[in-house]
């Protein structure tokens, strides 16, 4: 990794973040002088690197530089990629062979019977990633303490190798019973596979996810080998293409844990890229926390199909390692992102008994909302905005989209209003109320349910559609302030630039707090520490620069869910217990005094801080801004229809301040501010909104 100290003079040290989305590829370029530029190009789903290169070309042109000179001046090129997720969603992964313990050929297909909604029992499971005839058993067994009951059968391994060869298997996964306690058998098999198939991807469950539970561990190993080859080939090809075009620093990637790393470090852990895009929101929150002057923030990034919510509490974002993506269960250290299927393209309908429903079905990028005129007939959230005056007929997003409000009106009339017996406007209001309710519930899921009062947080809008909802959602939640970055449309691409390097690892542990020797705990934690520190060293950090955090997964005996409790060395049982009890009380409202506490896992993480992005400083102005026009807009439930001042974002500068209601049209997004809310354009050129009704006392 390029040394983060190499940020040089003004022609050097550009930082680039690229987020490849379903419709657009966003590129954010941060210059050492603090300026931030956004470039949007259409995505090229079949060959995503084409769009990345197109964005580079566009940016170079804008900077008035040749592409090679432009790329040479880049110190950090950071990429959030959806390729791993899309590979799984589209079923385009490798042909995987799985080796399992004799007697356990089918955990991958049984999947513990986990279905999200039992009532939806007419729906099949997502296709199994390895067919049964490529899930091959080998004898050899560990007991529940990790001792060998039966040696590994080399004959069975050889037989599996023969079958894999005949079947042209492209990559391999190994998941043996109780291998989370001892990975020796798995390593022996891997060595055999690697000598037989030196070019192919091999994933060991004991390495990829050393957790208790053969299904989740095996599912993770299989997914890693399924998406790995295509993902890594793409990344290596992109890295080569960028290098040939002039990039001198390595390509960096955002992992599920929100930390960045190099292609080399992630090459055998492609599954750590399943959340590569949304996880970057943590970088945006890091960055904006400075300009807001507050580090308890909730971001709500809304695009065309979904909304991603992230919560930062006093600078800390929750981590989890259980993910479900495209119907597959995966274990990978990840920032906690709560995603719901609610976006601008989400479709509203009325059931046969007269109930208004919203989503989760969406109109996607094509045909999209009815008002886009691409052939969409079903009314969407965006159509509701158009009916309520938040969008008017005409071009948006630099002409990529042309809105026709009459189509929105017709779609809502035909599918909603006439069926409910209400006016088109009332129907549109209903759609938005349902949308905002879903957003409120999504935020509450991460806040209230985790013992965090949303009133104490500022809401940060992201995504093209976020700024149209954020103020009303904040009002419903009782938040006092809202922050809308001018480039909220490129929220995650920006976040990549605010990300640090981070590596996580964990190991299974078994013991009762107070009974286990603190030395055993410390030894385990220090082993873990060494591994993550090594990774940071390879990425150019010094040992004393690494910020190490230790965590123990704890629960009362009998519970099935752990609380990850941060701990410091040396381990003092009383202090650990008291931290656990404080967290249990906050989460669940009670503690069991003297209840025995089990230690289930040890974790460590090592963070290497990247140099912070400069906070841009716009020229200050004291003048009162002039709205471009005044438009009739439905503002919110309380205010109803009002004459609303509409501003072009380009006319607003740092220091501008005014009262709502107001509509602000930016290049990639539109912001709606309620009656009496107070808007200031801050030093960074972003919008800080003080909510009128919510008690600021």
């Amino acid at each position: 990794m390029a040394n983060r100290r190499e940020v040089g003079d003004s022609t050097e040290g550009l930082r680039i973040g690229v987020d490849v989305g379903g419709t657009f590829t966003d590129m954010v370029v941060a210059s050492p002088n603090g300026s931030i530029d956004v470039f949007k190009v259409p995505s090229t789903p079949s060959k995503p690197d084409d769009a990345v290169m197109a964005a580079v070309e566009k940016a170079a042109e804008e900077f008035g530089m040749r592409q090679d000179a432009f790329l040479r001046s880049v110190s950090h090129f950071i990429h959030g990629t959806t390729i791993a997720t899309n590979t799984a969603l589209e079923g385009k992964g490798a042909r995987v062979g799985l080796i399992v313990t004799d007697g356990f050929r089918d955990f991958l297909e049984i999947r513990r019977g986990i279905r999200e909604n039992p009532w939806d029992h007419h729906a099949p499971f997502a296709p199994v990633l390895v067919p049964r005839y490529l899930r091959l058993p080998v004898k050899g067994r560990l007991d529940a303490q990790g001792s060998e009951l039966q040696p590994l059968s080399v004959e069975d391994v050889a037989e599996a190798v023969r079958t894999f060869r005949e079947e042209d298997v492209e990559s391999f996964a190994i998941c043996l019973m109780n291998a989370f306690l001892d990975g020796t058998h798995e390593r022996e098999i891997a060595a055999e596979l690697e000598s037989e198939f030196p070019e192919n991807y091999v994933t060991l469950s004991s390495k990829a996810a050393p957790i208790l539970g053969e299904y989740e561990r095996g599912s993770t190993a299989v997914m890693n080998s399924y998406v790995g080859p295509r993902t890594i080939n793409y990344l290596r090809a992109l890295e080569t293409r960028l290098a040939q075009a002039g990039l001198a620093s390595p390509l960096l990637l955002v992992q599920n844990n929100g930390g960045i790393t190099s292609v080399e470090e992630v090459a055998d852990r492609a599954v750590n890229l399943m959340l590569s895009g949304p996880a970057a929101a943590i970088g945006s929150l890091n960055h904006f926390a400075e300009s807001i002057g507050k580090n308890s923030l909730i971001s709500m990034e809304i695009g065309g199909t979904s909304c991603d919510v992230m919560l930062m509490n006093e600078g800390h974002v929750n981590y989890t390692d259980r993910l479900q993506i495209a119907g597959y269960d995966i274990v990978s250290p990840s920032v906690e992102v709560h995603t719901i299927g609610a976006g601008g393209g989400t479709i509203a309908r009325v059931d046969e008994a007269g109930l208004l429903l919203l989503g989760p079905e969406g109109a996607g990028a094509r045909p999209g909302p009815a008002c886009y005129g691409f052939g969409g007939e079903h009314p969407t959230v965006t159509d509701a905005h158009a009916v309520l005056g938040r969008f008017v007929s005409g071009p948006y997003a630099d002409g990529a989209i042309t809105i026709d409000a009459s189509r929105a009106h017709d779609a809502i009339d035909a599918h909603i209003a006439s069926r409910l017996g209400v006016s088109v406007e009332e129907a549109a209001i209903g759609i938005l109320r349902l949308m905002d309710q879903q957003l409120v519930l999504a935020v509450q899921k991460l806040s209230t349910e985790r013992g965090n009062d949303p009133k104490l947080f500022d809401l940060v809008a992201g995504g093209g559609a976020g700024p149209l909802h954020v103020v009303n959602v904040a009002r419903n939640l009782g938040c006092q302030r809202v922050y809308v970055p001018r480039i909220s449309g490129a929220f995650c691409a920006l976040g990549m630039l605010g990300s640090n390097c981070r590596h996580d690892n964990m190991r299974f542990f078994r013991g009762i707090l107070g009974e286990v020797s603190p030395d055993d705990l410390v030894d385990g934690l220090l082993d873990l520490r060494m591994e993550v520190i090594d990774k940071l060293l390879r990425e150019g950090f010094k040992e004393d620069e690494a910020i190490v955090q230790f965590t123990m997964d704890l629960r009362y005996v009998g519970q099935q869910w752990d609380i990850p409790v941060p701990v410091d060395l040396p381990i003092e049982h009383d202090r650990v217990r008291s931290t656990f009890e404080t967290m249990h009380e906050k989460l669940f409202g009670h503690v069991q005094t003297r209840g025995a506490i089990e230690v289930k896992a040890l974790r460590s993480s090592a963070t290497g801080l990247m140099e912070k992005l400069m906070q841009p400083r716009g020229a200050q102005t004291a003048a009162t801004p002039e709205p471009g026009e005044t438009r009739r807009i439905w503002v919110d439930q309380k205010s109803g229809w009002m004459d609303v001042a509409c501003y072009s974002g380009a006319t607003l500068a740092s220091g501008h301040a005014f009262e709502g209601p107001a509509l602000i049209e930016e290049q990639t997004t539109t912001l709606l501010v309620g009656d009496g809310d107070h808007v200031t354009v801050d030093n960074a050129g972003n919008y800080l909104i003080m909510m009128a009704d919510n008690d600021n006392a």
Binding site: G103, F104, R105, D106, F107, E109, I110, R112, G113, I114, R115, P118, W119, D120, H121, H122, A123, P124, F125, P131, R132, Y133, A144, M177, N178, F180, L212, G213, E214, Y215, E216, E352, A353, G354, L355, L356, L420, G421, V422, E426, I429, G430, R433, L434, Q437, Q438, L441, E449, R510, Y556, G558, Q559, Q560, W561, L587, F588, G589, H590, Q592, G595
Partner: protein, 578 residues
């Protein structure tokens, strides 16, 4: 009363109520102690109005559907005006308290708007142990409800905000697992409290309170159910299921259901069902209603709400003294599994006759014991052998799930990892793999079921409650075949076979048990199944080459593992012409 609520507000409130019920479930899962809650989700959270009508049950296992209303009605009957802020109710008895069976305890938290009772937030949850004749709540030797554990009428567990410690001690003394029950009861109360708080917040934001909103929610559900019924042909549709024993003797015991559909009403008549039996497979009235509701809702699909409004169009007639509405003191603990499974099958297959395009095949009946023992501290552990669960039946849109949680949970019960069980119980699991030819044949194949092989390393007691080992139970429909029946084999440490009763307790030392679980039924003519799918099943070892030829009329060359197309076409053409 018809609700005056506007359609937009209705939609908002419906979502909010469902969210509250799910939130209650979330609290329960994360704070409870017994695997039966936090792994198996054997509980449900629901909101009832002040009259006991069920308003939302967004969270919960299907076999609790709609039954909670009986419990709240019982509280209202017992306590009348003596229901106050700060009270929390507890009950379980199926004969006097609207319970479904004794292990399912209901905690109910009355919610007041000012001084007016508006609702109850409730939690019905299966306790780990409640005394009775066998550890783990299932006593297959019970002949009276008194053998099944402690009976609790509606009582105030908390009065005016104060826990009744005397009562609490009484409860703790009547369980083999007080270390679990204490935490679990607190979790139940905590979850009901969260529900009450959230409901009050909703009420405060709703002009005129929640009463008319509750009506609106139920009215919508009623319209939805009636709309579905209107689109079915009027007529009578019947199905008869049966047990092969009464837990003591082999004999056929019938459960008969006749659906009478007329316009937008449906009558479910159990006339012809056999009288109540000696063993614990009698169904309490609450359970009979729940099984009917679960069968109907699961037949029509996920969008049908599950509140009292849905069920206004449905009338249930269960003859007094019959298996599905027994007189006390008949034992009933098994009812949430058997005959709930049979009742759901009857509803599904009768409705399949009325609406074959929605056909659902039968799920294999579980045939594994509950195993219990003592740990080193002499505490009782109870292990459900969920890893031996059955295969599910097919539908028109999918093959049967190969192995899935019981039908009464619609598969919502999560099957454990073998590794987890090896950590928490003295067992070694040797095998859990899909059966060959286990699933019923069909255009959509039934789920295979599994071969399960487990070694118990210490002394144990096995409580058998098997229904799927005497004949195929995963019934095929619309031309589909039945899934295979279960086989069971129990051997002591010397490798000698130990007799396995269909129902009954067996105590023995270290042992090894092998169960092949029953497969699910198929839907549609197997000769119509996509031949490539048949080939995939053959390659996967789930369908034998012989079955491919005999049942599916697909000839697979065993050496090349390819379809022999000419032979297949000729076989399939012959099949068509027959």
């Amino acid at each position: 009363m018809r609700s005056q609520i506007d359609p937009i507000t209705l939609a908002i409130i419906q979502n909010r109520l469902d969210f509250i019920a799910r939130q209650m479930g979330w609290v329960m899962i994360r704070t409870s102690r017994s695997p039966i809650f936090n792994q198996s989700h054997d509980f449900s959270c629901f909101i009832a109005d002040a009259e006991g009508h069920l308003i939302s049950q967004a969270d919960g296992i299907p076999i609790h559907t709609g039954g909670g209303g009986f419990a709240v009605e019982a509280i209202l009957d017992y306590f009348g005006d003596d229901i106050h802020k700060g009270d929390v109710f507890l009950l379980n008895d199926p004969y006097v308290a609207g319970g479904n069976h004794l292990p399912d305890w209901v905690v109910a938290w009355p919610v007041f708007e000012g001084d007016t009772l508006i609702a109850f937030t409730c939690n019905r949850a299966h306790q780990s142990d409640i005394g009775g004749g066998a550890a783990g709540t299932y006593n297959p030797e019970a002949t009276e409800i008194f053998h099944e554990g402690i009976r609790i009428p509606p009582v105030k567990l908390v009065r005016d905000g104060e826990m009744d410690d005397d009562l609490f001690r009484l409860l703790m003394l009547n369980t083999r697992t007080p270390h679990l029950l204490e935490g679990d009861l607190l979790a139940m109360i905590g979850s009901a409290r969260i529900g009450a708080e959230e409901l009050l917040k909703l009420s405060a934001s709703q002009e005129g309170g929640l009463r008319s909103a509750f009506e609106g929610v139920m009215d919508h559900a009623e319209r939805k159910m009636k709309h579905l019924l209107q689109n079915l042909d009027d007529g009578e549709y019947s199905y008869e299921e049966s047990f092969d024993n009464d837990c003591f003797e082999t004999r056929k015991i019938r459960i008969c259901v006749t659906l009478k559909k007329s316009k937008d009403r449906l009558t479910v008549d159990f006339a012809g069902t056999d009288p109540q039996i000696k063993g614990f497979k009698n169904s309490s009235l609450a359970n009979t209603y729940s099984a009917v509701y679960a069968g109907i809702v699961s037949f029509f699909g996920k969008e049908l709400p599950r509140n009292s409004g849905t069920f206004r169009a449905i009338e249930i007639s269960a003859p007094k003294g019959s298996l599905v509405n027994p007189n006390p003191p008949a034992p009933v603990t098994m009812c949430t599994v058997f005959p709930a499974h049979e009742i759901m099958h009857c509803i599904w297959f009768a409705l399949t006759e009325a609406s074959p395009e929605r056909a659902l095949a039968g799920w294999g009946k579980n045939s594994f014991p509950v195993t219990s023992g003592r740990d080193r501290e002499n505490r009782t552990w109870v292990m459900y052998n969920w890893s031996a669960c059955s295969g599910a039946g097919a539908t028109r849109t999918r093959d049967g799930f190969e192995q899935i949680g019981p039908i009464v949970t619609l598969g919502g019960l999560t099957i454990p990892n073998a590794e987890t069980f090896e950590q928490i119980y003295p067992v070694r699991i040797h095998k859990q793999e899909l059966r060959c030819d286990g699933g019923g044949s069909g255009e959509h194949r039934g789920g295979s079921g599994v071969d399960y092989d487990v070694e118990f390393l210490t002394d144990v007691e096995m409580s058998f409650r098997s229904e799927g080992a005497d004949r195929p139970t995963g019934v095929g429909v619309c031309g589909g075949g039945d899934g295979k029946m279960a086989t069971m084999d129990l051997r002591n440490a010397n490798g000698e076979a130990v007799a396995v009763p269909d129902y009954g307790n067996v105590t023995l030392g270290p042992n090894r048990m092998r169960i092949s679980s029953p497969g699910g039924g198929g839907v549609g003519n197997p000769a119509m199944r996509d031949a490539e799918l048949v080939l995939r099943d053959v390659r996967d070892g789930l369908v034998s080459i012989e079955a491919a030829r005999e049942d599916y009329r697909v000839v697979v060359n065993s050496a090349s593992e390819q379809i022999d197309w000419p032979s297949t076409r000729s076989l399939r053409n012959n099949a068509d012409s027959r």
